[in-house]
Amino acid sequence: MIGASSIRKEGRAKVLGTAIYTDDKFMPGALHGLTVRSEVPRGILRAIHFGEGIPWEEFTCVTAEDIPGTNLVASVVDDQPFLIGIGEEITHSQQAVLLLAHPDKFLVEKARRAVRLEIEELPAVLDIQSSLDLQPLIYGTNNLLKEIRIAKGDPDPIWAQAAHVIEGEYRTGAQEQMYIEPNAMLSVVEPRDGLLQVTVWGSLQCPYYVHGALRQLFGLPEKQVRVVAMEMGGAFGGKEDYPSVNGGHAALLAWKSGKPVRLIYDREEDLACTTKRHPSRTRLRTAFDAEGNLLALEADFILDGGAYATLSPVVLSRGAVHAASVYRCPHVRIHARAVATNTPPPGAFRGFGAPQSLFAMERHMDVCARKLGLDAVELRRKNFLHMGDTMATGQVIREDLDLAGLMDQALAAIGYRDKRAAFALTNPGDGPIKRGVGFSVFMHGCGFTGNGESHVASVAGVEGLADGTVAVLAASTEMGQGKNTVFAQIVAEALQLPVELVDTAPVDTDHVPNSGPTVASRSTMMVGRILEDAAIGFKLALVQQGFLVEPYTPESFQAAVVKAVATLGTLRCYGQYHRPPNIQWDDVTYQGDAYPTYSWACYAAEVAVDLDTFEVKVADFVAVQEVGRVVNPTLAAGQIEGGVAQGIGWGLWEEVTMQRGRMINNQMTNYIIPTSVDLPRIQVVFLENAHAGGPGGAKGIGELPMDGPAPAVVNALENALGALRLDEVPMTPDRLLERCEEVSHG
């Protein structure tokens, strides 16, 4: 079953329109909720005025004073309130102040406009530099949400003695996940057997994050909170941490009104207030010897973390670990900081900090090659990590890593040498179209960074059902990536059953164990591995208790399960994550095995730039990656193609335009994601190299394709246009014009 392109489990329901998304869930008498937000980036809330012409007595209104438990969203750091109270500080323009609910969803919108907030404005910090300069101080004692230092060797003596020292600064912008289904929640809070029971159905990636947030918000024990993941129209990280906020808001309205409440964001609200990719600024300093061997690397990596910590500490952590990329370097110093600004907090987005630091390093390698007078291919070849080398955190490469082979394959597939030669002849001509080809080599750590997996200690299981089929028990969610199908394939493989006999149990915290959040490219590799164990345990139990005799056929297995369920009532078997003894990590020194393993890749892009309009067309794209064993080739290729599309979008068009700390292009008309005609054919190549840690040898692939496209495309731009200041994404036509003029005007 592993290695087959099994058909998507939930595909039929999605195609037929019978899949039930949050807003589709039938709930008679549900009220419509809405959130009133601050609109100024920083200030003190003095009063809330309810305007005239609205039947306020018909409305349910929730303010900070109503909150029954703790007014803090449970996260890495508990610093973000659900609602700001009178006299408290507003710290970003989308801060929730008041929640409204009413049976008429159009009237509730009218009411929102009738509310006037009296706010005493304070000076705000709106960019990275102002935050570093403490102009003014807005968070803690130094405006830092998190600071990380990674050290290997000592770069200081190297700078003076190295043949070449090359510095560069690189910037990346915020990016919106642009899932098709905006954030959505539905809640019912009612007494059951004399106890308050809080239930939330929603579009969410991490049921147990929301579960934890609701427990803290209401001060309730585990059993009185239930979270159900509905069918989800995409997420990409955008429904990792934010659902703890809007899930809490929906539950507060349901609790106060005593009625079911829907809280469904429209696109404008979703774009304006939910999490984005962190904007970044990276300063790199590298030392090379005369032959181009990398001697020392210093990285100053800064993320704009917005008004609250949210996931910034862990996003920063992944970004910092990936900052040295795929190169062997004896002396490394990485200083990573997430700074506070008065903007809506960014959060998780496919790649989680790595695309930012990898963009800097992979652009910098091309800049270094040019300054050293070396070929970008040969400079990389000289400096790649190999088996036995140590990375910046001291992690030793234990696998037979062949990055040069990977790179050569990608370059051959796109025709790199021939195209370079051809464009060198054609580009000097008079025509406005200039062509270039470029590439990036990179990796993505699979699973949580550092001790994350040990902290979560995920549990997942399998259950025999009365009809003899098997259900997967895990809190991992299906957001379009194919989790339902891949889990079924893994369990079917372990049980030697056809995939049709395995399906996924509804993701409901009353029913499935905490297999951890559906993030970090971890579901297939980490949860899949636990499921493999659980499935084998399940089979052994059937055999040991005499229900099943090996060898068996699918029919005899099914009959055995029917009999066992009839005899025993329920039949479940669980597995749990255990840290392999050879994986060590120190959270204090940032030394050790940052990830159990990495996926490796080389992406190559060909671009055509129109110097009449400064539009960039990506003409061809090749994505070669080593991802362990591929569980489902169709789904895996889909992941890569989608990630490449998102990566090209981030590199060329997708810009979050801020004005006074507010996103002002919060419509799909003005936030430009690529359409199919903006994208090239994407050639996807998988190199398989079974990794012992994952099920059947699989590694993670979800985030990998987000890391490589932006630097590959911008490197190709440099090939097309020459040495411009191509240090930032998105490299929009406006920005490209500006960069070209810098050169032509001297």
């Binding site: 159009f106 009237l107 919108e109 009218k110 406009r113 429209d266 404008e268 406005p432 110097l611 009449d612 309009t613 400064f614 539009e615 067309k617 068009w653 335009t657 002002i664 292009n665 419509q667 008309t669 003005n670 430009i672 690529p674 359409t675 199919s676 005609v677 903006d678 036509p733 406006d734 014009l737």
Partner: protein
């Protein structure tokens, strides 16, 4: 949707006569509504002012395309899809086909109307530059009768039109080009499809004895309304194709534009790129 429907009133007249009568009774109080593709976006965002709407979409009098020897006459309700699919439009006005294709998505092209594209008066609309290049005329109808106005006189400023409160756009008349023609249309949007233009240039030239005998250039997104590039036209008119004064024309074009910075592009980008589009147009014209 952020609009509050009970605040809105939509009247559906059964005939053009009834529509004109309603408008005459309360001049200025009705906003015409045809395809609704611009209005519904504003309504959805909650930014549409509550008012009375007059739904013209069922008025047969405003539909259909008529062709005679010298012109095509488009009913006000002609959709972008109808423009795209009309053989005579392909034959005589290729720029108009490109304009219609460049507008929104297919669903928008199915509903959106040519008159709506004009009367909504967005400087970024995609058909106006082509209509300007082809020297279109508009027929306006009111209880006082029919009035014709040259389209290049119709826009008088940002969302200001030469149209009285009791008038409706009835027909768009485009004269068929004669002789050896040159057609150029290029929209530069924020992406290759489903995009709003950052700049747009449409041109029609008639070539006679190797010279530019007739030339009209329409511009979008570089002024408060769609505009003719009269200065650039003047620099080029009568000039031989073999030695077009490209630099002078590009320079003259500056006086035809008054671009601004907005969410989609800077004024500087619009100014540079529009001049480059003129340059591309002239390269093609020189080879025509």
């Amino acid at each position: 949707m952020r609009g509050y429907l009970p605040d809105f009133d939509v009247r559906v007249p059964a005939s053009l006569g009834e529509a004109l009568e309603l408008m005459a009774q309360a001049p200025g109080s009705y906003t015409p509504l045809a395809g609704g593709t611009d209005l519904m976006v504003v309504y959805n965002a909650g930014r549409l002012k509550p008012t009375h709407f007059l739904d013209l979409s069922r008025l047969a009098e405003l539909r259909g395309t008529e062709e005679d020897a010298t012109s095509l006459r488009f009913g006000a309700l002609t959709t972008f899809t109808e423009l795209r699919e009309c053989r005579a439009v392909h034959q005589h006005f290729p720029n108009l086909v490109k304009s219609a294709r460049a507008t929104g998505a297919l669903a928008i092209q199915n509903r959106g109307t040519l008159a709506g594209n004009i009367a909504n008066a967005s400087p970024a609309a995609d058909t106006p530059p082509s209509l300007l290049a082809y020297g279109a005329e508009l027929a306006l109808v009111s209880p006082r009768g029919l009035r014709r106005v040259a389209y290049d006189q119709f826009h008088q400023g940002y969302k200001r039109l030469d149209m009285a409160a009791d008038e409706l756009l009835a027909r768009i008349i485009v004269p068929k080009p004669l002789g050896r023609g040159f057609h150029y249309f290029r929209k530069v949007g924020t992406r290759q499809a489903q995009a709003i233009s950052k700049t747009c240039l449409a041109a029609y030239a008639r070539i006679e004895d190797g010279c530019v005998a007739e030339l009209r250039i329409g511009l979008g997104s570089v002024a408060p309304a769609p505009v003719r590039a009269r200065n650039a036209e003047a620099a080029l008119l009568g000039k031989p194709l073999a030695s077009l004064p490209v630099a002078a024309a590009r320079e003259a074009l500056l006086a035809d534009m008054s671009p601004i910075d907005d969410i989609r592009a800077t004024a500087h980008y619009r100014s540079v790129v529009t001049r480059n589009l003129l340059g591309q147009m002239l390269r093609e014209l020189a080879n025509a």
